[in-house]
């Protein structure tokens, strides 16, 4: 079918003629070399693989090609191949990247070293155990409202919530955050991903929950973040994590805990918390889902 198309188009499309044939568009004679971490919790080493180069290849394509042709048991996570699901996070040359969104050409002339994300325990090869994150998520008070949908909510009131809602849970921000990665504060720090979630919950016009105590005193640990913005640099969907999620939360925490004027006002008005939804800081206790990955 495609051949006839090419014929009709004549010489003009010559340059592309071979591409649209069902055969893959291998770049004649060109190959890529990738060094991939192979190993498990006990340790491991980089193994070098060489593959045929294909036009427009992303690193995930390369890894899957290696998996299909040279190392069937090479462990890697992926689902959508379109930067929608956040499964394929790994570190390329020491920086977290979505493998499906990173073109191999970007590293022309450089080494390509692919490692699993390191803020969490490595299971095998490019796969780390990220189940910790789901445990944290379960501890955040979910969306809570006494109103009944359908809600009347205006675009103007919710437009700033679309940004945090874009999160695809790739956990690359968690990986690059030094509080988790170098200081291992996992038990007392929720990490940027969950500040993003807390922020939209706190700013949602209909939400009546209050997560400030969780953030400041509970295991949220927002004060442990020193706003150094590594998370914002890696977010694949462009969430300005520090500026638009963490700092606004820090400001709300400051309202609640560090602002003498606000404190006085609350005393006078007899309210216990300063968030404009103010329902007196009640935090519903809720059951948590059990999350397991390892058997």
């Amino acid at each position: 079918m495609s051949d006839s198309a090419a014929e009709q188009k004549g010489m003009a499309s010559k340059a592309h003629a071979e591409v649209h044939s069902d055969e893959e568009a291998t770049l004649e004679g060109k190959s890529y070399r990738l060094k991939i971490f192979r190993g498990d919790a006990e340790g491991g080493k980089e193994v070098e693989y060489e593959i045929e180069a294909i036009e427009g290849m992303v690193v995930l394509d390369a890894v899957l090609k290696i998996q299909a042709e040279q190392a069937n048991d090479l462990a890697v996570r992926w689902n959508c191949k379109a930067a929608h699901c956040g499964s394929c996070s790994a570190e390329i040359n020491g920086r977290p990247k979505l493998l499906c969104k990173t073109r191999v050409e970007e590293y022309e002339g450089q080494e390509i070293r692919v490692h699993p994300i390191r803020a969490f325990p490595v299971i095998k090869d490019l796969v780390s155990d990220v189940s910790w994150n789901y445990g944290v998520s379960a501890q955040i008070q979910p969306f809570t409202t006494s109103e009944q949908a359908p809600f009347t909510m205006y675009e103007e009131d919710v437009e700033r919530l679309y940004e945090p809602k874009k999160c695809i849970e790739c956990f690359m921000c968690q990986d690059v955050c030094h509080v988790l990665r170098t200081h291992h504060k996992h038990p007392e720090f929720a990490g940027p991903r969950f500040f993003v979630r807390s922020q939209w919950l706190e700013m949602h016009p209909k939400d009546e929950g209050n997560r400030l105590q969780f953030l400041k005193e509970g295991r949220g640990g927002v004060q442990l973040c020193n706003i150094t913005k590594c998370c914002s640099e890696v977010c694949p969907v462009g969430i300005h994590i520090t500026d638009n999620s963490i700092i606004p939360l820090k400001e709300r925490v400051a309202d609640e805990y560090y602002d003498p004027a606000k404190w006085l006002m609350r005393k006078i008005r007899g309210r216990r918390n300063g968030s404009s939804n103010g329902n007196g800081g009640t935090r519903s206790t809720h059951a948590r889902a059990g999350i397991r990955t390892n058997g």
Partner: protein, 583 residues
């Protein structure tokens, strides 16, 4: 709940007990989990990926429900009619009725749980037009509606005491001596450890099987496990020949071939053109043009390319440049990013190149509309794995609401069933051991055929012989190839250990792929007509006889695929009337 199985000479296993086991954590599985948990049952959810990564997360366009926020004339009746018309009347009309009536409630329920949709000026949920929907009906948030849906459901589930087993794959369902489904065997992808789930009911929500084709918008998960689990357990499958080709998948670069270009692009006014610059849709559907139903647009695109009016990379052009950069960033930001990053194309300046890609499977496990029960006691199914609602062609956006409507019904149905039945969940030890042995076989064999290779050959075969346009000779040839591949299954061998070993996992999946492909081809041979997604070149048009039947496939006595043509019961008066009025 924890108990350790005994070694018994084979690999050890763990035992987990739940009232209801839900297989799949897409929209359907999670909604079912919420429904069953709310009724006070102990619920386990297993998923092959991490939580929140199922296909549902990739849905872009929106969720169809006749809220009538933008077009007040809309109502369930119109939604019902659109669904049946597009399904070429082989849909299960009762499912379609429940579906169109309940979809609005399910959307509002999402909002109640924290989902955020784009708003209208009046502060209501905004709705966009979509192919073959009479009114503007798709609730959406930009082009990441599925993400919103699954994240909302995921957070809802995390706030309950549902137990989630991530990266765990079920390989078999067990039945007790009464023939009820009472358990399942699963392995964890991480370590390869076996888990025997003892459960009083099982809900299948495993999604579709788009992975049987080479050019697909589906992920590695779409291997049809659920349909095969059900089939092996004796359940009936319906209209398996119906596979949806989405008209617009990416064509270049090769690595992303098949990746979805959301129908939202056409919904927002995207125009299809061929290499001559013609808006050729006027030759295929003058009235609805680009927003015709998917089967029609897909065939149009296919034909244009085949007749030599294709784009440089063998597709057609889809142009949304008139929306401008700002409009695109507001309505289709993900698409903009996807093309810019992966194909170096700025869709606000240049048209996209697109070609049909395999997208959705209308066929599936036959279920009772009210409870989602299958014909096997204790087995329920919902979501893409279930069949019947969409008939011969699914409308865009109807899947997401399907997941919620029938996910909920399946959860409730299973809960009802569990509460009203008392029986043993014991199974024979030999059966368990035999299954474990079967699963371990490729690892024990070590040297053998590469499972990826077999998968690839299958995908190419299906591409070649069971594509968008079919004929008898080609289908028969394809069947021969599939059966030959089936014979090679025992030769598969993989290296490595049980520790996160994708080769081993693929060896399991490929069996499902082959089984499903066989069923699809056999059904496609039976339906000798052109109807929706089933387009037989060797037959002229729709066949009246065949228009009144569903093709039911079921494992027969000999363990082969048995196919029965089953009469569709006549539509009751109150539904039939709807079609008279409108026309």
């Amino acid at each position: 709940m924890d108990a350790n199985g005994h070694a018994n000479g084979s690999s050890p296993h763990e035992v987990r007990e739940h009232d209801v086991l839900i297989i799949g954590a897409g929209g359907a599985g999670l909604r079912a989990a919420v429904a069953a948990t709310e009724r006070g049952l102990s619920v386990g959810v297993v998923t092959k990926s991490l939580l929140g990564k199922a296909h549902t997360v990739m849905a872009e366009g929106g969720i169809a429900a006749s809220l009538g926020n933008v077009d007040p004339a809309d109502g369930w009746q119109t939604h019902f009619k659109d669904t049946l018309k597009s399904g070429k009347f082989i849909n299960n009309w009762r499912m379609a009725e429940l579906f169109s009536k309940e979809a609005p409630d399910r959307v509002y329920e999402l909002e109640q749980w924290g989902a955020l949709f784009n708003r209208t000026a009046e502060g209501k949920i905004s709705q966009r037009p979509f192919g073959a929907h009479t009114y503007r009906r798709l609730c959406h948030v930009g082009d990441r509606t599925g993400l919103e849906l699954i994240r909302t459901m995921q957070e809802k589930v995390l706030a309950t005491d549902t137990q989630v087993y991530m990266e765990t794959a079920v390989t078999k369902l067990f039945k007790n001596s009464e023939g009820r489904v009472v358990g399942a065997l699963a392995y964890t992808r991480e370590t390869g450890k076996f888990i025997h789930f003892k459960t009083k009911a099982v809900v299948l929500a495993t999604g579709g099987w788009g992975r049987i084709y080479k050019v697909t918008s589906n992920s590695w998960e779409g291997t049809g496990d659920g349909a095969v689990l059900a089939y092996d357990a004796g359940a009936e499958l319906v209209d398996m020949e119906m596979v949806q080709f989405h008209p617009t998948g990416m064509v270049w670069p090769p690595g992303v071939r098949g990746l979805l270009v959301t129908e939202g692009v056409r919904g927002e006014g995207g125009l299809l053109r061929n290499s001559k610059g013609e808006r050729y849709m006027e030759r295929y559907d003058k009235e609805r043009m680009e927003l015709s139903s998917r089967d029609v647009v897909a065939r149009a695109n296919y034909t244009e390319v085949q007749e030599g009016r294709g784009s440089p990379h063998g597709g057609v052009f889809l142009d949304i440049t008139h929306l401008g950069y700002r409009g695109i960033m507001k309505k289709l930001p993900t698409m903009h990013e996807q093309f810019l990053k992966l194909a170096d194309i700025d869709i606000s300046k240049e048209p996209m190149e697109v070609f049909p890609t395999i997208h959705y499977t209308m066929g599936g496990v036959k279920v009772d509309p009210e409870t989602c029960a299958t014909n096997v006691p204790g087995l329920f199914a919902a979501g893409e794995v279930a069949g019947g609602l969409h008939g011969a062609n699914r409308l865009g956006g109807n899947s997401l609401s399907d997941l919620l409507v029938f996910g909920r019904r399946a959860g409730m149905g299973a809960a009802e069933y569990v509460k009203s039945n008392g029986y043993s969940t014991e199974i024979r030890e030999e059966e368990l051991n035999a299954e474990k042995k079967r699963v371990m076989a490729p690892l024990e064999k070590r040297e053998g055929e590469n499972p990826y290779k077999i998968q690839q050959e299958l995908q190419e075969t299906m591409m070649e012989h069971a594509n968008l346009m079919r004929n008898e000779d080609s289908l028969k040839e394809g069947l021969g190839k599939v059966l030959a591949l089936k014979d090679r299954l025992p030769n598969i061998g993989v290296g490595g250990s049980t520790l996160f070993n994708p080769g081993w996992h693929t060896a399991q999946d490929v069996r499902h792929l082959i089984q499903i492909s066989e069923i699809i081809i056999r059904c496609a041979l039976e339906r000798t007509e052109r109807r929706g997604a089933q387009w037989r070149l060797d037959y002229d048009g729709p066949d009246e006889e065949l228009g009144r039947v569903n093709l039911i496939s079921k494992k027969d006595q000999q363990g082969e695929v048995g196919i029965e043509k089953r009469e569709i019961p006549p539509m009751p008066e109150h539904l039939a009337k709807l079609f008279e009025e409108g026309e």
